[in-house]
Symmetry: C2
């Protein structure tokens, strides 16, 4: 496996992990774009949102639910935050392993990209 | 109800609807920030991601799944797209009814806000 997120999940590359369960892991983005910038990643190697099967709807719901829980844990739930899934080239997806961004801790420009 | 999305769902305000099922409705954003800019909205009035109950994890998964299906329907699945949930003031949430943005049809800046 030449996937950097799979290596992080396997503990072969260090990361600043803030949450773990049997389905997902969450860690700080190494190039944060906001005071809080976490990535929530399924343990299973799924390339992108395009590759999520209908049977995995609950997994995606769980990932977003964890983003919401982490917003609370990180103290940004009340002020607000943004949850982003980039898919493919036009979406700016940088790592080919599905991940959800959680951003907060500052006022986010309403540009959406 | 003084919620603009509830009024759209009830058909009291016209909108360019692209998808409907028993749980969600999707329509074009009236101020599009990309050639394709859809909003996917649960029929149930939920204020924000903060207000989604744990029992509604499947609903959130379904909303994101619909975003993925609509990316395909709109012809942007292969080139790529971005899925965004803004929550609260710092997140830039403009309407106080949970909604998921689907953006595509151009290269999205990787700014994430």
């Amino acid at each position: 496996m030449d996937c950097i997120f799979c290596k992080i999940i396997a503990g072969q590359i260090p990361s600043d992990v803030v949450y773990k369960d049997d389905k997902v892991i969450a860690f700080r983005d190494i190039s944060p774009m906001a005071p809080v910038h976490l990535l929530i990643v399924p343990r299973q190697h799924i390339v992108s949102l395009n590759d999520v099967a209908e049977a995995q709807v609950t997994l995606v719901g769980h990932i977003v639910h964890v983003a919401k829980l982490l917003a609370k844990q990180q103290g940004i739930a009340e002020k607000g935050y943004r949850v982003v899934i980039n898919c493919g080239r036009d979406g700016g997806q940088a790592v080919q392993h599905l991940h959800v961004h959680l951003l907060g801790g500052r006022e986010l420009v309403n540009g959406l990209g």
